[in-house]
């Protein structure tokens, strides 16, 4: 297929935590609200003159200092983030809103605070830690409301005078939803038999929307969508189509690696992916609930975080994977987990069994490094073997 005009631009955005759009937004006098967890309602960090940036650590190499602080048993994502913070890689941030979600990311953020990694010389800087509901219930929605008020809206207003009015929130939701709609529309093309966007390209665009100010990305996303609409597929015969489920994929080379084996990544159900991360927030103007409640309900009810412990959610997560696998015509499911991530360790164990036994999908269950280059050979072998097993089943007419 013809190269997408802005792909290289978006790829370059992923090369550095402090990308050029963050610098541009800061130069315009905006406030950078860094965050670490997809359960944190993102639009509320994009109100007024604030903009959100999700912390990530591209091209991570040595994690020695973070390993000293957190030992080698913590997940590489949390260590990579801490290492980058200690290196000064997040000095652009004006605050950090962390979630006491998964323990390891929480500890990474706590170490950032204790080591003063981002706040040196910034009198207004604040670290805040949010409690995230553990169950998708109305009680959880109420908790989320209180948390966003106390740990996002109040501190942003008090420290930086950010406009936290309903009007500002509505505007942020509109902008958020516009990004979601663009990403979802791009993602719809993945359902095609001969898709006109690769899973890798889609992963690049999606990830960038978490890492850069949205208002500076929208035009290029719109242009890309128009371009894809008229893009001619190259008629490539993919060997199989898979859904990738699991921990965050900050290194999109992982998706590329899968696709290099001839396997199309047709759907992404991982932390900071598009499903459900880029599902627009439905705001009902006639609802009795105010806009904050509606946002909080969206994040509490629609989230697919493995930490959600009520059984409706435990079963629901597997059904959700089954539903998107069917919707996107997947032949199989890859459950992946960043090494040492506890929530996804358990989720992929139960999920891989349920998807296989209850829903009849072939499943590959793997752990992987944060930076895939340190384990690319092994991963390629695993994926190739998985795809061959799917092909053999197809040839033999076995159960899907």
């Amino acid at each position: 297929m013809k190269d997408l005009k802005h792909l290289l631009y978006f790829e370059n955005l992923l090369q550095n935590a402090n990308n050029e759009l963050i610098e541009q937004a800061k130069a315009e006098g905006n406030i950078c609200a860094a965050f670490t967890c997809e359960n944190i309602p993102e639009p509320l960090l994009n109100i007024g003159n604030a903009f959100s940036v999700r912390l990530f650590a591209p091209n991570s190499g040595s994690l020695d200092i973070a390993t000293y602080y957190m030992t080698s048993f913590l997940c590489e994502t949390s260590r990579a983030l801490l290492e980058r913070a200690i290196e000064g890689g997040y000095n652009f941030a004006d605050c950090l809103v962390a979630a006491d979600g998964c323990t390891m990311m929480n500890r990474a953020a706590e170490n950032m605070e204790l080591l003063h990694t981002m706040d040196e010389g910034k009198s207004n800087f604040f670290y805040h830690f949010m409690e995230i509901p553990l169950k998708a219930t109305e009680i959880g929605v109420d908790l989320m409301k209180l948390q966003v008020q106390n740990h996002i809206l109040n501190p942003l207003h008090e420290h930086y005078g950010v406009d936290v009015s309903e009007e500002a929130i509505r505007k942020a939701v509109e902008e958020h939803n516009e990004v979601c709609r663009l990403i979802r529309e791009l993602g719809e093309f993945r359902k095609e038999e001969d898709p006109r966007i690769t899973g890798y390209e889609f992963a690049v665009f999606t990830l960038a929307t978490y890492l850069a100010p949205k208002y500076l990305l929208i035009d290029k996303l719109r242009e890309t969508l128009e371009e894809v609409k008229t893009r001619e597929p190259d008629g490539k015969k993919w060997r199989a189509r898979v859904v990738v489920v699991g921990s965050e994929v900050d290194d999109v080379a992982f998706i590329k690696l899968i696709e290099d084996t001839g396997t199309y990544v047709c759907a992404d159900r991982y932390c900071f992916g598009s499903l459900p991360g880029r599902v627009p927030i439905e705001i009902d103007d006639n609802s009795e609930d105010d806009i904050i409640t509606q946002i909080c309900r969206h994040y509490t009810m629609k989230g697919q975080c493995p930490r959600m412990m009520n059984m409706e959610k435990v079963y629901g997560r597997k059904k959700y994977v089954n539903d998107i696998a069917k919707e996107y015509n997947a032949d199989g499911v890859i459950y992946e987990q960043v090494k040492f991530c506890d929530p996804w360790a358990y989720e992929r164990m139960l999920g891989s069994h349920m998807l296989r036994e209850d829903y009849g999908f072939p499943v590959l269950s793997v752990d992987r490094p944060y930076n895939i280059s340190s384990g690319a050979g092994q991963m390629r072998t695993r994926v190739q073997a998985f795809i061959e097993s799917i092909e053999i089943k197809k040839l033999q007419g076995g159960v899907k």
Partner: protein
């Protein structure tokens, strides 16, 4: 900054009986128990032996029931219970006088309580006793669950199903969990998660839990692994055995005001769920009686800790932790049998303090034990006393709630009670430190060092405990800044294949020799051939 020192205290009294303990260990590397009973002088040996017979009588009464014999053959983990008397010998090793009596009083009651739990389990178990009527009155709960949500139920029994199956079994014999860990890993769980919930998941996968109860209440207890393991267990309970489950959520940031309402409301939901399935109405009378007992237990624990802050601690070591665990969390004021035990222990503590009773010939260091203990080597705290004269003043698991809860039945207190129960639930053992931010795990440790005049922290570094590992560097740096010796002792909680008992002891001994340049008080136990012992 110079390291803190504490005054050495020498015991003016010569210990009666065996002076060294190494002679009790078998040298052939095969025997599972001590080669003989410890000689503690006539009076203490007779006392110890009478208590040993009492434990045998508990076991005899338990095994006399046919359903329990049947369980012995059905459940793999039941074989570990042959080692109960030996477990007591490990916990009382080297003890005399009041500490010996305190340890027996506390631990014998824990044994009684576990035996009662097991008896109840097999009474209702569909595969053994199969008493359906009784089973309908049972609510299954987690191993590390605070049973506050049961405080207002009189006829409904809380069954902490994982306690005898996993938790206690690993105290008894060091290899009790290895089979279940293998099962979980064969099923697809990585080997790097905490082995405790992993073993529990393995037991469930292996279908080796007893099956009973009208419903189950699960709690996000200590860690992400524990939270996530619930899903595996609930999947089997609900789908295979038709036992409905409720997941009670305890907030992570449990010291924050803005999470308390959430916790209290979910507690109400849990109680409603139990009422619905157990067909018993919540009794406020019963609740406030239980609350009074919780407060009573808190007062006694505070007194023991206060005594341990002096030069002559009396109630120390693993049993201090295990008794608090059982009383505070498993019991949570529900049983009328605990307060007399608390009272008796307090009397002995006071008596020992007045007599300046010591557990070793010399106390060289005052130590706070922090982190999560290796279940298969929890008795090492006594070894520290006898081998190196290091006194474990308290441990992380015992540093739980100290606040009184409302115990008078008034309309206001009925409302407050939900918050109190939620508070207890949030502050269940271990999670009250491993969650709640670094303040409760790191900052408060140094405060306890100050209050209890400790110059040393023995840091159990449970390698798969991410919550603790995540602050490793902070402990190191802050310990150095404050002049507190932080002795790191690594282990893997309940998997001795990863870290053997001797490897754990060696880490401690290395610090004592190389950093503190000290020699052991009892060199015969510096290296113990207990690789194959229970």
């Amino acid at each position: 900054m110079a390291y803190k020192t504490v005054k050495k205290i020498t015991n003016p009294k010569k210990k009666k009986g065996d002076q060294t303990l190494g002679k009790l260990y078998p040298t052939n590397g095969k025997t599972k128990v001590f080669v003989r009973r410890e000689w503690r002088g006539v009076k203490d040996t007779l006392y110890d032996y009478s208590r040993w017979l009492y434990i045998m009588s508990i076991l005899a009464r338990f095994i006399a029931k046919p359903r329990n014999i049947k369980a012995m053959f059905r459940y793999r983990w039941m074989a570990n219970y042959l080692a109960v008397p030996y477990m007591m010998d490990k916990f009382t090793l080297g003890l005399r006088d009041e500490p010996l009596r305190i340890t027996h009083t506390a631990m014998n009651f824990v044994i009684y309580d576990v035996a009662k739990t097991m008896d109840n389990i097999f009474k209702g178990d569909r595969r053994t006793g199969n008493d359906e009527e009784f089973s309908k009155t049972c609510v299954l709960t987690d191993e590390n669950a605070m049973t506050a949500f049961m405080m207002g139920f009189k006829d409904t029994t809380a069954i902490l199903r994982e306690v005898p199956t996993m938790f206690v079994a690993n105290l008894l014999t060091q290899n009790s969990t290895t089979h279940y860990l293998d099962v979980a890993q064969e099923f697809g769980l990585p080997g790097d998660v905490c082995p405790m919930p992993e073993a529990e998941a393995g037991i469930s996968i292996d279908d080796d839990f007893a099956v009973l109860g009208c419903c189950a209440v699960q709690v996000n207890t200590t860690c992400d692994g524990s939270l996530m393991g619930n899903g595996v267990i609930a999947h089997r309970l609900e789908r295979e055995y038709g036992i409905p489950t409720f997941q009670l959520s305890a907030p992570m940031r449990h010291r924050e005001d803005d999470v308390q309402e959430y916790a209290a409301r979910d507690m109400q939901e849990a109680v409603k769920f139990i009422e619905e399935h157990a067909h018993e109405k919540w009794s406020w009378k019963r609740y406030f009686e239980s609350a009074a007992r919780v407060n009573d237990a808190t007062k006694h624990r505070a007194f023991w800790l206060e005594t341990n802050s002096t030069d002559y601690p009396q109630f120390c070591g693993s049993v201090f932790s295990l008794y608090n665990d059982t009383n505070y969390m498993g019991n949570c004021g529900r049983s009328e049998l605990f307060p007399p035990k608390d009272k008796k222990i307090s009397k002995l503590v006071e008596q020992g303090y007045k007599k300046k009773t010591m557990m070793a010939p010399e106390y060289r260091h005052r130590c706070i034990v922090w982190g999560v203990q290796p279940q298969y080597n929890i008795h090492m705290l006594y070894w520290m006393i006898h081998c190196w004269g290091v006194l474990p003043l308290t441990d992380m698991l015992s540093m739980v709630n100290t606040l009184p809860i409302a115990e008078d039945d008034t309309p206001e207190n009925r409302e407050k009670a939900w918050y109190d129960m939620a508070w207890l639930n949030e502050n269940m053992i271990m999670r009250n430190r491993t969650h709640g931010g670094y303040k409760v795990l790191v900052d408060e440790l140094w405060e306890f060092c100050e209050i209890m005049n400790a110059d040393m922290v023995m840091m159990w570094e449970h390698m798969s405990c991410k919550a603790l590992d995540g602050l490793h560097g902070q402990f190191e740096e802050q310990g150095r800044e404050r002049g507190i010796h932080v002795v790191w002792v690594c282990h893997d909680l309940c998997d001795p294949r990863v870290y053997t008992r001797q490897a754990i002891r060696d880490e401690f001994s290395q610090y004592m020799r190389t950093v503190l340049r000290e020699e052991p008080l009892d060199p015969t136990i510096e290296h113990i051939p207990d690789e194959n012992m229970w």
